[in-house]
Symmetry: C2
Subunit: 407 residues, 2 copies
C-alpha cells in the first residue's frame, strides 16, 4: 500500500465563505496594541469595572453547591433560573415576556447569528441603520442577504424609511440598536420610537432590536424598548458583557413564542448549549439585585471619561469637526472637516501614537469617509487628553496639507 501523492487541493469553499473577510477592526486593534500607542479604537469595557470579588465568590459557590450539574451537559434553552431572571429584568425595558420566550446565547453575537440563520435566505433583503454595528453585518453576511440601508438622521432611522423599504421588496427584518448605538452613540428619542414601530409594522417589517448598552446611561435611562410596542413583531437581544463581564460570553434572545422553537433548534445545531457553569455563576451574581449597586459605578466611571473626552475634543479638534457627546454607552462618533478621510489618515495617526476606528466598516453600503469612532471607556482621563491632543495635531497637519494641495 503506497500513499497517494496527488496534491490537488480538495477543498471547495461555500459561496458564503467568499464573502467572509478579515475584520478591519481586528487589524486596527492589533496595531493599536503596540507599545506607546494611545488606543481610542477598542470596544472593550473597562476591566476595572469587572466585579472580580463577586465573580470569584459565585464561581466557588457553584463548584461547591452544584458541581456536577454545572459541569454536565445542559439544556439548549439555557439555565431556567437565569431565563426567569432575564424575563423579570427586561420588564424594566417595558417588555412583558414569559421565561419560555428567553433563550440564553453564547454572547449576544450568537443571538445575531441565530436570527440570521433562521430568517435570512440568500439574496433576501435585510435592512440596517446607516451606519450600523459592524458585528451585526459580520453575523448576517454568511447568510448572504442583500443589505438595505435605512435613511436616518441624528435621532436614528426615519419612519418614512420603512415606506421606501416596502416598495423595494420587504426585508426579512430591520436591525436596530436604539440605545447609545455602536458606533454613533445616539439614542432613538422617545418621540421617534412609536412612529418608527408603527411604520415598521405598517410595512410588515419585523424588528431585531439589539440593546447591549441600554443600562450604561449617564444622564437618564433610555425610553422603553421598541419591542414593548410590538412584542409579536420584535426579537430583542441583551447581554451581560457590558454590565458584568464579556469574558463569560453570556447574552440572551427574547423572541415571540412563534419563533422560539426555530431559534432553539438553530442554537442546538450551533453549539448545543451555552456553558452551564457560566450561566449558574452569573445567575448567582445577579439574582439578589447586585446590578442595582454595580451598574451605577460603571455609569459614574464612564460618565467621567465621556466628560474628559468631550473636553479634550473641544480643546484639540480643528474647526469643522462635529460630534455629539453621547448620553451613554462607550463611543464618540466624529465627523472630520471636509477634505479629510479617516481611513487614509489612520497610518499617520498610528505613527504619531494614536489609534481609532475609521467609520467606513460600519456602513453596509456607501460610507462616509469623514466619520471616525472613538472609545473612551478603557483610558484614564490623562490618556484621553494625550490621545485626543495627538489626534488633533494629526488632523491640523492634514488640513494644512489639504489647504496647500488646493488649487
Amino acid at each position: 500500500m503506497t500513499i497517494t501523492t496527488r496534491t490537488r487541493n480538495p477543498w471547495c469553499l461555500a459561496r458564503r465563505a467568499e464573502r467572509l473577510e478579515p475584520s478591519v477592526i481586528r487589524e486596527i486593534l492589533k496595531v493599536s496594541e503596540r507599545p506607546g500607542i494611545v488606543s481610542l479604537a477598542g470596544g472593550l469595557p473597562a476591566p476595572e469595572s469587572f466585579p472580580v470579588a463577586a465573580m470569584r465568590e459565585a464561581a466557588a459557590r457553584v463548584l461547591v453547591d452544584t458541581p456536577r450539574e454545572a459541569l454536565q451537559y445542559a439544556a439548549s434553552e439555557g439555565y431556567a433560573p437565569l431565563r426567569e431572571w432575564v424575563a423579570q429584568h427586561v420588564r424594566g425595558q417595558g417588555l412583558a415576556v414569559k421565561p419560555e420566550q428567553v433563550l440564553i446565547t453564547t454572547g449576544s453575537q450568537q443571538g445575531l447569528d441565530l436570527v440570521g440563520k433562521v430568517l435570512i435566505d440568500a439574496a433576501a433583503p435585510v435592512a440596517v441603520e446607516t451606519p450600523t454595528y459592524l458585528g451585526a453585518l459580520q453575523a448576517f453576511t454568511p447568510y448572504e442577504p442583500e443589505f438595505v440601508s435605512l435613511d436616518g438622521d441624528d435621532d436614528g432611522p426615519l419612519p418614512q424609511a420603512f415606506d421606501a423599504l416596502a416598495r423595494a421588496g420587504r426585508p426579512r427584518f430591520a436591525y436596530l440598536l436604539p440605545n447609545f448605538q455602536n458606533p454613533t452613540g445616539r439614542v432613538i428619542p422617545r418621540e421617534r420610537r412609536l412612529p418608527l414601530v408603527n411604520a415598521a409594522r405598517e410595512a410588515g417589517v419585523p424588528l431585531l432590536e439589539d440593546n447591549p448598552y441600554g443600562d450604561l446611561w449617564f444622564d437618564e435611562a433610555p425610553p422603553p424598548a421598541l419591542a414593548s410596542w410590538w412584542p409579536e413583531g420584535c426579537v430583542y437581544l441583551g447581554s451581560f458583557s457590558k454590565v458584568l463581564t464579556p469574558g463569560f460570553r453570556l447574552g440572551y434572545v427574547v423572541a415571540p413564542p412563534a419563533l422560539v422553537p426555530k431559534l432553539l433548534q438553530a442554537k442546538q445545531a450551533s453549539d448545543l448549549h451555552t456553558p452551564g457553569f457560566n450561566q449558574r455563576v452569573v445567575h448567582e451574581v445577579v439574582c439578589n439585585g447586585f446590578l442595582d449597586q454595580h451598574v451605577p459605578t460603571i455609569r459614574a466611571r464612564y460618565r467621567a471619561q465621556r466628560d474628559a473626552m468631550d473636553a479634550a475634543l473641544r480643546r484639540h479638534m480643528p474647526q469643522g469637526t462635529t460630534w455629539h457627546a453621547p448620553h451613554g454607552g462607550m463611543f464618540f462618533w466624529l465627523r472630520l472637516p471636509a477634505g479629510l478621510d479617516a481611513m487614509r489618515l489612520l497610518d499617520r495617526a498610528v505613527a504619531a501614537g494614536v489609534a481609532y476606528v475609521p467609520g467606513a466598516p460600519f456602513y453596509a453600503r456607501a460610507s462616509d469617509p469623514r466619520a471616525m469612532r472613538l472609545s473612551f471607556v478603557t483610558l484614564s482621563a490623562a490618556d484621553i487628553e494625550r490621545g485626543i491632543r495627538v489626534l488633533g495635531a494629526v488632523l491640523h497637519e492634514a488640513l494644512n496639507d489639504v489647504a496647500v494641495a488646493a488649487p
Copy 2:
C-alpha cells in the same frame, strides 16, 4: 399617534429553517427523566468522572492571578497557551501541527457548525457514514446539503464507497468518526485507515474527522488519526467534553493552514470567541499532565460498565439480537431480531420502565428499523442489569406478538 393594530404575521422564515426539526433524542431524553425509568438513552458522561476539585482550584487560581484578562473579551482564535497545548496533545494521534492551525471552539458541536458554514452550499453533496452522529446531521442541515450515505461494514466505511461518490458528484467533504463512533461504538481498524484515506484523496474528497471519544479506550489505544496520513486534506475535531467536562463547552478544530482564516472569520461571526475564563481554567487543569492520571480513571469506570452491560445483554436479550461489545466510548449498538422495530417499541419499553434511543435518527437516508443505541456510562452495574432485564422482557414479549401475528 395611535398604535397600529394590524396583526399580519411579519415573520418569514429562511428556507433552511424549515429543515430544522425538534431533536428526537431531546424528546426521548425528556421522557427518560421520569422517575422510575432506567435510561439507557443518554449520551452524557458520568458526572462522577468530573474532576471537581481540580476545576475548583483552577477556577479560583485564574480569578486570583488573571481576573481582568479572564473576564475581558479575548481572541477569536482562542487562548494561545491552550492552542499550544492542543497542538502538542494531538501529536499523540499522529498529527504534526502548529498552534496557528488550532482554533478553540464552543464545544466541538461548534466545530461542526463552522465547517458547515465555510464549506457547504445549498444542494452540495456531503458524505456521511451509515449510520452517523446525529449532532453532525443537525449541524450541517441548516446549510442545506444533499446528504450522501457512505456504504460500510462493521469496520466503518468501505474505501470503494469513495469511488462511487466521485461518480455521483464530488462531495464537499466526508464526515467520519473513526474512534468508538456515536452511535455504533466501532473503531475503524488500522488496516482500513490508509486505504480509506487514499480512496478519499483519489476521489478528491476531503475528510472531516471527529474524535470526541478517542481517549476513552478500554483495551488499547486506537490507531493514528486519518488526518495523520493526509494533513492537508483533513479537518480534525477534538473536545474536552468527554475527558474533563462538557459543561465548559470547549472543543477545538485543527485545520490545514489554507482553511484557518475562513474558519476563524466564521467563528468570529458566530460568537466572537469562546469564553476566555473557561479556556484559562481548562488550560490550568491540563497543562501539567493532569489528563495522564485522570483519563485512566474514566477508562476503568467505563470499562467495568461496558462489561456489566455486555454480560446483561448476554443474559437477557432474545436470540437473534446482535451486537459487538465496544472497545471504548459510551455506546452499544444493537440489532434486534427480524420483525422488531425499535422506534415502535419505545413506548412499550418506557411503560415497562426502560428508555433507549432507536437507531433511525442516526441515518441520513434509509434507516435500519431494527437498530438501537444503548449508553452504559451513567448507570451503576445494578441499574444496567435492571434496565437490560426489563428491555429483554419487552423484546421477548414483542417477539411473541410477532409469532402470534404470523400466518
